[in-house]
Amino acid sequence: MFLKLPVQYITTNVHNTVFILNTVILIIALIVVELVYAETPKKNRVHLKYFAPLFLVLIGLLIYAAYKQAGVAS
């Protein structure tokens, strides 16, 4: 009935793994965009906008992680 994250406890370990993988995905995404679209004519690049919201979310999560790290460090 209710959608849920099928995880019982989110520990620090889980938290760190998510952020590391998030960074890896962002780097892979940047490489793919560079490799696939750098040579594509501009008029064919319009559908790139479809990927923007997902990657903006990942960037947002990274900024949050950096903010949390800074909070812990200080």
């Binding site: 959608l3 989110i10 793919v32």
Partner: protein
Amino acid sequence: MSIDTITQSIKESSVFDSIKTSYLKVTKGLKKTYRQSLATVKKSSYAKVTQSISKSIRKEVKSLKPYFKDFWIFGIIVAVIVATQVTLAVTTIGGIYVNAAAFLILIGLALWKERARALAISAAILPVANMISLALPQSTEFAQTVVFYDSILVLALIYRFMFVLDQPLKETKLGKLGYLTVLPLMAIIGQVLGVIGYLMLRHHYPFDHTSLPLVAACVVVFALAEEIYFRGLIQQRGSVLFNPVLAAILSLILFVFSTIGHVLILVPIFALILGIALVTTYFKKQNLILTFTINAVTKLAYIGLMAGFIFH
């Protein structure tokens, strides 16, 4: 001369032998021709039957082809989402890796096949919502669920807006009379499903220690998020790519596996019952208001029954 003598002489004469030989020859020839013609008839009828069977099989397979068009895309999406949800339920850290892999596979599919792009990106919302929820741990299960639903709602709304801008949807609005007659019916279906939900899940209420009015207000938003995502994006985009029945099955599978937990099997079973009602309604009418009414009334009826019989 007696008759016996005459018969004996005929028997002994060469005329009888020649008649006998020619008779045997003729019968032998006839038998051979009969056997040959029988074999030919058998062979031709057998060939005809097998030919007609293979022809009808080929025809059936050909007629089934449109139903299984792009079935491999359906298979990939189902496999990655099911693998993610099940692994997350079994082992969290392993599940996070599978979740990241699922996200990359779906984005790769979207980049590779232009016709699968909208559906693959829509399906990728689920791994991203998992990632957001895992990155923002909350103190209560209710707050965690709110984060999960809100991320799905926001992304689903953005993508619906983007896809609808590109491809105008078919007009599925009902008239005033239509809404007046159909909405109460949907509310009744929702009430019935809510009672079934209460009977199945009354001992497994997930939001203890949270005020009931707040939960009641939020479940309406939860229903909206579910409908916009599962029916409005997955099923709608799926029916552009596949046969609508296959799109409905895809939406149902994703819905059921998104409710999977680490212990309880009753929630996915109830989600299956609710999902069948919702996908069938959307399949028949393509109207989100109707499915939203069923979903919201089901959740509200469940919360109401819990408040009336369990918490009072």
